[in-house]
């Protein structure tokens, strides 16, 4: 089979922007004087850092870049040599391995943190990860404790909101110290405004895959947009990137074009991708002309497509809302079922694929129950297992067989349905 070419103009623009961003990281590592703060993807409050000219560094993004470039295993094994278990999240291991290897990657030198901002948004591994970094780096740490969504309404209580706002005030004080300047409310307003516009564009982009064919793959192409969404949100360049993306995909939708020549199947996908085998994994779907029209993974850092946008008139409150409510990681597992349900219906999908990754139990623990829920509702559901970072858990032949069998039966189903109609 000929190689499918997926790379478009947008991918190139993304590459440019990300290499600029990584250039800033390297410069900071080499003494540019710009302070860097490590933070986590879940509901990331990047606006506060941007407003104070602190560089955001996401160890998760670094770890996944290492995996994509097939550089993760050596770091994972180095961490295992230090006593980390084969059963620990491999993002953490890759990052810690990298830290002790001198923080040099093919894409950047990662600066030492001036601040470890542990935005504890749902994932309990985050806490371990940053506790460990704190022990190794001896750098200042700020734990931002975000109460988990634990009621049926799916909304945080006013107590939770007050608790988070109070912490955000303290965080500002800590960041001001690191930045060596006071937070300018006008600047914060502007950053939040940029973030708000970026979020709206991202939401628009996500709704575009409701068209058939979908103008891009909401899993494999969304991940290209996710790095700018976290690393560059709140900047002018970030906004320009999303304007370009929206224009390009809106045009494709208008022209009836998609990422593949044909779109035979539309699926929703749950779970993070197998970064070390991203391309191989994508091809497994492409050969069936199957396109992801929505993905839960693209909402870990923020869930914009259901109506959220930052509010420049209430910057702190909207940052708090984002942390508490508008991201996948802080939502409970049943809210994820609802999210998938909405995707299946509103994005008009034929099936659900669950990619269950060993590293990330936040995502995966209980996905068998999720499969049961959707199967009972008559949604063709496939659950496959591998990992997001550790290449040792990807069994290509087995994965291909499972995916082929699934789409074969889906094709059969479609045929029979068409014959019956």
């Amino acid at each position: 089979m000929a190689e499918t070419a997926y790379q478009g103009r947008l991918h190139l623009l993304q590459k440019d922007l990300m290499s600029q961003y990584y250039g800033e990281l390297t410069a900071s590592a080499e003494g540019s004087g710009v302070p860097a703060a490590y933070l986590l993807i879940g509901g990331n409050p990047v606006e506060l850092l941007r407003a104070l000219d602190i560089l955001p560094v996401y160890p998760e993004v670094n770890a996944l870049q290492l995996a994509v470039k097939k550089q993760s295993l050596a770091h994972i094994q180095a961490a295992e040599g230090m006593g980390y278990s084969t059963d620990n999240c491999a993002y953490v291991k890759a990052d810690i391995g990298l830290y002790f290897a001198g923080r040099k990657t093919p894409f950047a030198t990662i600066p030492e943190p001036s601040l470890l901002l542990c935005n504890y948004v749902g994932c309990n591994v985050y806490l371990h990860w940053f506790d460990h970094l704190a022990e190794y780096t001896k750098r200042p740490t700020f734990h931002l404790d975000i109460p988990f969504i634990r009621n049926a309404s799916g909304r945080p209580s006013s107590d939770d909101m007050a608790y988070v706002l109070r912490q955000l005030e303290q965080l500002v004080a800590v960041c001001e110290e690191i930045a060596g300047k006071r937070l300018d409310p006008q600047r914060l307003r502007r950053v939040v405004e940029l973030s708000s516009q970026t979020g709206r564009l991202w939401s628009e982009i996500k709704h575009l895959t409701k068209s058939a064919p979908a103008p891009y793959d909401a899993y494999f192409d969304s991940v290209t947009m996710m790095a700018p969404l976290y690393c560059l949100r709140g900047t002018e360049e970030g906004l320009t990137f999303f304007q370009t993306a929206r224009d390009e995909y809106a045009q494709m939708a208008a022209d009836g074009k998609g990422p593949l020549e044909r779109e035979d199947f539309r699926f929703v996908i749950e779970g993070p991708p197998p970064w070390p085998y991203l391309r191989v994994f994508r091809d497994m779907f492409a050969r069936w002309n199957a396109v992801a029209v929505a993905s839960t993974y693209s909402t870990v850092g923020g869930l914009w497509e259901f109506g959220f946008a930052h509010d420049p008139d209430h910057p702190m409150e909207s940052i708090a809302e984002h942390l508490l409510t508008w991201n996948l990681t802080n939502r409970n597992f049943l809210q994820r079922y609802d999210q998938i349900d909405r995707y299946l219906k509103e994005w008009n999908a034929d099936a659900l694929v669950i990619h269950s990754v060993k590293s990330c139990r936040l995502f995966s623990a209980g996905q068998g129950d999720m499969r049961d829920y959707f199967t009972q509702r008559g949604v063709p559901t496939l659950l496959v297992e591998s990992d997001l970072e550790d290449p040792r858990y990807f069994s290509e032949a087995q994965m291909r067989t499972r995916i082929d069998a699934f789409f074969e039966s889906l094709a059969h189903r479609k045929l029979t349905a068409a014959a019956g109609a």
């Binding site: 961490a79 230090m82 006593g83 980390y84 278990s85 059963d87 620990n88 999240c89 953490v92 542990c118 504890y120 749902g122 994932c123 309990n124 591994v125 806490l127 371990h128 506790d131 460990h132 022990e135 740490t141 734990h143 931002l144 404790d145 109460p147 988990f148 634990r150 209580s157 107590d159 939770d160 608790y163 109070r166 912490q167 409970n332 597992f333 049943l334 079922y337 269950s356 060993k358 990330c360 139990r361 936040l362 995966s364 623990a365 209980g366 996905q367 068998g368 129950d369 049961d372 829920y373 297992e385």
Partner: protein, 390 residues
């Protein structure tokens, strides 16, 4: 179990074991059926604010998995192979009807599998009330106490809605006093074993503590008092054994035989973290005019180190080494449940601290469902031998 009529200590221990090994929660169910309107609230590890449930008129029952006494035939289709056993055995208990008498179940923010398990219970058991407590991770701050006090208020409302009773501050204070007394009793037993490990085996100590997981607290306190009297009279001579400190088993529990075999391998256990939630505080919960705040303050400011607490302001690993030294331990045994990320993460830091401090240690994994643990036993024996003969 009738504590007062059993006069031999070893029989008492056997009865405790029989009670908690039963998957039918006999004491809890007997308590519930004794009077109409009583409720059972199952508490997943590690720590639960049991006083709140008790004051609301429910019996808080500690859930500790199903050990090797239940075949997992439904739950492993819901939770994958790389998830720890207690998650699956707890769900399995529900799926085979063993939790039918429970009116409510409570889970806590200890790890991601437990978090998702709360949701899976919510969906699969619509007639059981499921609650989730988010413990603050920004410890040692006033706002964490205020936050947790409000969280406890919410939990209290949930508990009273479950039992249909309202609760006064006075009742809450009485419950706190009762559990304070129990925690004091348990701390006393731990001190006793540390000082005279030849008079109280870890198997016995474990049985005395774990009984409280599944029995009414009033009765547990009577048991502890009884044990206190018994132990004062006990005689015995110390043997030449290695003194070890054990960590890593704070949530899923190793099979009892494995626990017993640690000592029979030739050592004394000077401290452990089995069922850590039952003695989570280093001192009594205060008694002020605001009992929920007292409980919150105890969690935030006076609870012991654990793998499910973070941002402690000190190094957990260094504190562990210091404790091992203070207890005159020759070595540390790290015994963690397979796939338990909190324990496994901590181990990486412990290991570094052990090396730096020259503290011998061994790392072992278990699963509650283990039948055969010859390998673990042999590893412990070899380790203990190496300690005794160096």
């Amino acid at each position: 179990m009738n504590i007062e009529v059993i006069n031999r200590f070893d029989e008492l221990i056997d009865e405790c074991i029989e009670t908690f090994e039963s998957l039918d929660f006999p004491e809890a169910r007997a308590w519930k059926s004794a009077e109409p309107g009583r409720a059972l609230i199952g508490c997943f590890p590690v720590y639960a604010p049991v006083e709140i449930f008790h004051a609301a008129g429910a019996l808080p029952v500690g859930l500790a998995g199903a050990g090797n006494r239940l075949e997992i035939s439904h739950a492993d289709a819901r939770f994958q192979s790389f998830v720890c056993s207690i998650i699956k055995s707890t769900l399995e208990l529900g799926m085979v009807g063993k939790l039918d008498d429970f009116d409510g179940l409570v889970f806590h923010s200890i790890c991601d599998p437990a978090r998702n398990l709360a949701s899976v219970f919510t969906r699969n058991f619509p007639n059981t009330r499921v609650e989730y407590v988010h413990f603050p991770q920004r410890l040692h701050s006033e706002e964490a106490v205020t936050y947790l006090e409000r969280e406890y208020r919410r939990i209290l409302d949930w508990a009273t809605a479950t039992t249909g009773r309202s609760v006064t501050d006075e009742e809450l204070r009485r419950s706190i006093a009762l559990y304070n007394a129990i925690r004091t009793g348990i701390r006393w037993l731990y001190d006793f074993r540390r000082a005279e490990p030849h008079k109280l085996s870890t198997r016995e100590l474990y049985a005395l503590v774990r009984y409280g997981h599944v029995a009414p607290p009033e009765k547990h306190l009577r048991l502890l008092t009884h044990a206190f009297d018994e132990l004062q009279r006990r005689e015995g001579k110390p043997k030449d054994r290695a003194r070890i400190l054990l960590v890593g088993s704070f949530c899923e529990q190793p099979p009892l035989d494995l626990i017993a075999s640690i000592e029979s391998a030739g050592c004394y256990v000077v401290d452990d973290d089995f069922l850590l939630g039952r003695r989570f505080f280093s001192a009594d919960v205060a008694d002020s005019r605001n009992p929920l705040r007292d409980l919150a303050d105890a969690y935030v400011n006076h609870s012991v180190d654990s793998s499910v607490k973070h941002d402690l302001g000190h190094s957990k690993a260094e504190a562990l080494v210091a404790r091992a030294r203070a207890y005159d331990a020759d070595a540390v045994v790290v015994l963690t449940a397979k796939f338990c990320e909190p324990a496994l993460f901590d181990y990486a830091l412990y290991r570094k601290a052990f090396h730096e401090a020259g503290m011998p240690h061994v790392f072992l994994e278990f699963e509650e469902k283990m039948w055969l643990f010859d390998k673990v036993k042999t590893e412990i024996e070899t380790f203990v031998e190496s300690l005794l003969f160096t």
